[in-house]
């Protein structure tokens, strides 16, 4: 019974082609296919075997979720073209490509965003980050033209969700990789939000800060920076480590590299009393608190730490003092 993993994988991939090509073709309904591929994914060690198989099939049949496909649709026959599409996607999934990259899109709050490797795929926690910004800064809804800066925009999820919720707002979104800048631009255009967003290819760790300062101060600075501790990187799932941009994940030895850069620059970037919202590792709130205590000159005050839906301390709300640092 000792089969080498790569051999097993090859056998399974081959077996995967059989069910609907041969015997199964007459009964190739979405439901049957979902069961077949779930089994194949399970045997192939693919995580979320059921969800993966259901989403890929729903996608091939034009629905977002298998639930949305429910009822008569799920029981009706699948065309040959759709079968090929499902098979192509499933093969990718067996190579552990994230589902979001395979189908090329995913939802973030009310928006459907394009997803393309290696740009970081937004996580559900970050939906809460947007909710927190909106809840803690009610003045954003009232002010005439609030300005928001996002550091590390990736696919553009946070910036575009904020623009969607705040019809008056303007956003400057920066990212250090060109792929992310391009994807944010593409998503902004698809959602018709491109007129209120300025997207810059800028690395906050190495590029001259003057480029940002020239844009003028903002009301809110928001970021889901790379925050994974370098030593934790090797424990990540193949989906992440093989396909997602490491620089969007690796936050340095203590996961704080970009967080420190943001905090150090923020007195220059923010208007007086401006707010900072950060997502981080559950260890970060305490670390950020200590770091701020040792940097009183920044006049930053940690207002609150908010837990995510799994009750992990995840979000940090910081406020800049009253005094202007602009001279």
């Amino acid at each position: 019974m000792n089969v080498a993993p790569h051999m097993l994988h090859r056998l399974l991939t081959r077996a995967a082609l059989l069910p609907h090509r041969g015997i199964g073709s007459a009964r190739a309904t979405a439901e049957n296919l979902a069961r077949q591929w779930q089994k194949i994914f399970q045997d192939g060690g693919v995580p979320e075997a059921k969800e993966s198989s259901e989403i890929l099939i729903a996608h091939a049949l034009g629905a977002k979720t298998f639930c949305g496909l429910a009822g008569h649709l799920a029981g009706s026959p699948v065309s040959a073209g759709q079968l090929d599409h499902i098979e192509t996607m499933a093969r990718e999934r067996l190579r552990r490509v994230p589902v979001q990259y395979i189908i090329g899109e995913w939802d973030f709050l009310d928006l459907t965003l394009q997803m393309r490797p290696p740009v970081f795929i937004p996580r559900p926690e970050t939906e809460e980050l947007v909710g927190l910004v909106l809840a803690d800064c009610p003045e954003l809804k009232q002010s005439h033209e609030p300005r928001i800066l996002e550091v590390g925009c990736g696919s553009g999820a946070v910036s575009l969700a904020l623009l969607h919720k705040l019809p008056q707002a303007r956003v400057v979104a920066i990212d250090k990789t060109k792929a992310a800048v391009n994807l944010t631009q593409e998503n902004a255009e698809r959602l018709h939000l491109q007129n209120r967003i300025q997207i810059l290819h800028h690395d906050i760790l190495s590029d001259p800060a003057e480029n940002l300062l020239a844009l003028g101060p903002v009301d809110v600075l928001v970021s889901n920076p790379p925050y994974i501790f370098t030593e934790d990187m090797s424990a990540l799932d193949p989906e992440i480590i093989r396909y997602e941009d490491h620089t969007a994940l690796d936050g340095g030895p203590d996961g704080m590299n970009v967080i420190r850069a943001i905090l150090s620059l923020s007195p220059l970037l923010l208007k007086p009393k401006g707010a900072i919202f950060l997502e981080g590792d559950p260890r970060h709130p305490d670390m950020v608190c200590k770091w701020l205590q040792s940097h009183p000159e920044l006049q930053l005050q940690l207002l609150s730490v908010v837990k995510d839906f799994c009750s992990k301390p995840r979000f940090i709300h910081i406020r800049r003092g009253d005094q202007s640092s602009w001279s």
């Binding site: 709050l109 926690e125 990540l236 799932d237």
Partner: protein, 414 residues
């Protein structure tokens, strides 16, 4: 004499109808807005049971009582028109009286004219008699019309009639066959929603191995969605030879439909501490460390044990919002039923808990027959019925008519 009568008849032919027509218009414009928003179709429909009721003495007695009550209230209450649109129970009677009284007055004046006209029938002039006869008939018709108008005014709609709803289907007795039937019924309502131009968003869908459904729910919204679907709650029974049966025996299986109104504004406070929100992300470091696609959310309301789930969206927060809406609707429904249960009622059509455990309809495939047990109505052609268009609509309309009739009987005999 002849001249004067002739003039009178001329009056009768020419001026009376016109004068009356004007008055009727006044009634229509005065009450019209309320009538229009209350009934859209029914003004032209005359279900058989209703006509019988309207012509009965019980009905006339009721009108007399309203008139007396109105005369008594007019002195004490004065003009409180601003409350006219309120639907709270205590004011319902007042609303009815205020809107019905003008119509009753109209009926009374019509009746007076009728008596006058009937005197003319004794006249010797044949032409005059013919004219009078026609006029009497017209007068009677108008009285009947006005009585119908009162009926439509009395059939008050539930506060929640216009709102969206959550439809839940659950397989009952009968194993895989019950689950297959549950899937078919769920499809039927999905088609019915499309037929009615309503939205139909599936919230959860738990499959069985053979393509059936253990449990599924959907949020349905659109004009009068609840008013139509509220009669569908209860136990539906199927009698047929299941696909799974090898020896050709007929099985009887059941499934349950629950219909929960989902008003846009629910006056209900939920303490977040009473909620347990379950997601697939509960373990591990979370955040950037994990990339999952399972966005399903399950919320448990700890004090009541009620559960709401949603797996319809790819966004977890969206699923959570929907699950919260479902939970609110469920909690609201419990509250609503507590109130309804206080008002004991002998009606055959029950909406809510009392109806939920009752067998309301049988789908007998071997006889190609659907029977609704509440109104003893049978229809044929199950295949078409389960397409969820005209036939199902006809059944629902019959239920709605009967419900209207029962509620009228209840009102007039109190």
């Amino acid at each position: 004499m002849l001249l004067s009568v002739g003039r009178c008849v001329l009056c009768g032919v020419r001026t009376v109808p016109r004068r009356l027509w004007d008055k009727r218009c006044n009634v229509i414009t005065g009450v019209g807005a309320a009538v229009l928003c209350q009934r859209t179709l029914s003004d032209t429909r005359r279900p058989p049971g209703l006509e019988e009721l309207i012509r009965s003495d019980v009905w006339n007695d009721y009108l007399k009582r309203v008139q007396q009550w109105g005369a008594g209230a007019a002195g004490s209450e004065g003009g409180d028109q601003q409350r006219a649109s309120s639907w709270r129970d205590g004011e319902k009677q007042g609303w009815r009286t205020r809107h019905i009284l003008p119509v009753i007055k109209e009926i009374r004046s019509k009746e007076k004219e009728l008596t006058e006209l009937q005197q003319l029938l004794a006249d010797e002039n044949e032409d005059l008699k013919t004219l009078a006869n026609a006029e009497v008939a017209a007068c009677l018709e108008e009285i009947l019309n006005l009585k119908y108008q009162i009926a439509w005014l009395l059939i008050s709609r539930d506060e929640v009639d216009d709102c969206s709803l959550i439809l839940e289907v659950t397989a009952g007795v009968g194993g895989q066959e019950a689950m297959l039937f549950t899937a078919e019924i769920f499809d039927m309502y999905q088609h019915y929603a499309a037929y009615k131009n309503w939205s139909f968003d599936i919230l959860e869908y738990f499959r069985s191995d053979l393509g059936g459904v253990r449990h599924a729910s959907a949020s349905i919204g659109g004009a009068d969605a609840y008013r139509h679907l509220k009669y569908e709650g209860g136990v539906h029974r199927v009698q047929r030879v299941p696909k799974t049966e090898k020896q050709g025996r007929i099985h009887t299986s059941t499934m349950t439909v629950a219909v929960l109104p989902q008003p846009s504004e629910i006056n209900l406070t939920i303490n977040p501490k009473d909620l347990r929100i379950e997601t697939k992300r509960a373990s591990g470091a979370g955040g950037q460390h994990v990339n999952t696609t399972d966005s399903a959310v399950r919320i448990v309301h700890i004090p009541t044990g009620l559960v709401a789930e949603c797996q319809q969206e790819r966004s977890q927060i969206k699923n959570k919002e929907t699950a919260m809406k479902v939970l609110r609707a469920k909690l609201y429904n419990i509250k609503l039923e507590d109130e309804t249960n206080k008002r004991q009622s002998a009606r055959k059509i029950q909406v809510g808990t009392k109806g939920r455990s009752e067998k309301i309809r049988t789908y007998n495939f071997t006889q190609d027959r659907i029977t609704d047990h509440r109104i003893s109505k049978s229809m044929h052609n199950i295949e078409d019925f389960m397409l969820g268009d005209e036939l199902l609509d006809e059944m629902i309309q019959a239920l709605s008519d009967f419900d209207d009739y029962e509620s009228l009987v209840e009102i007039v005999s109190n």
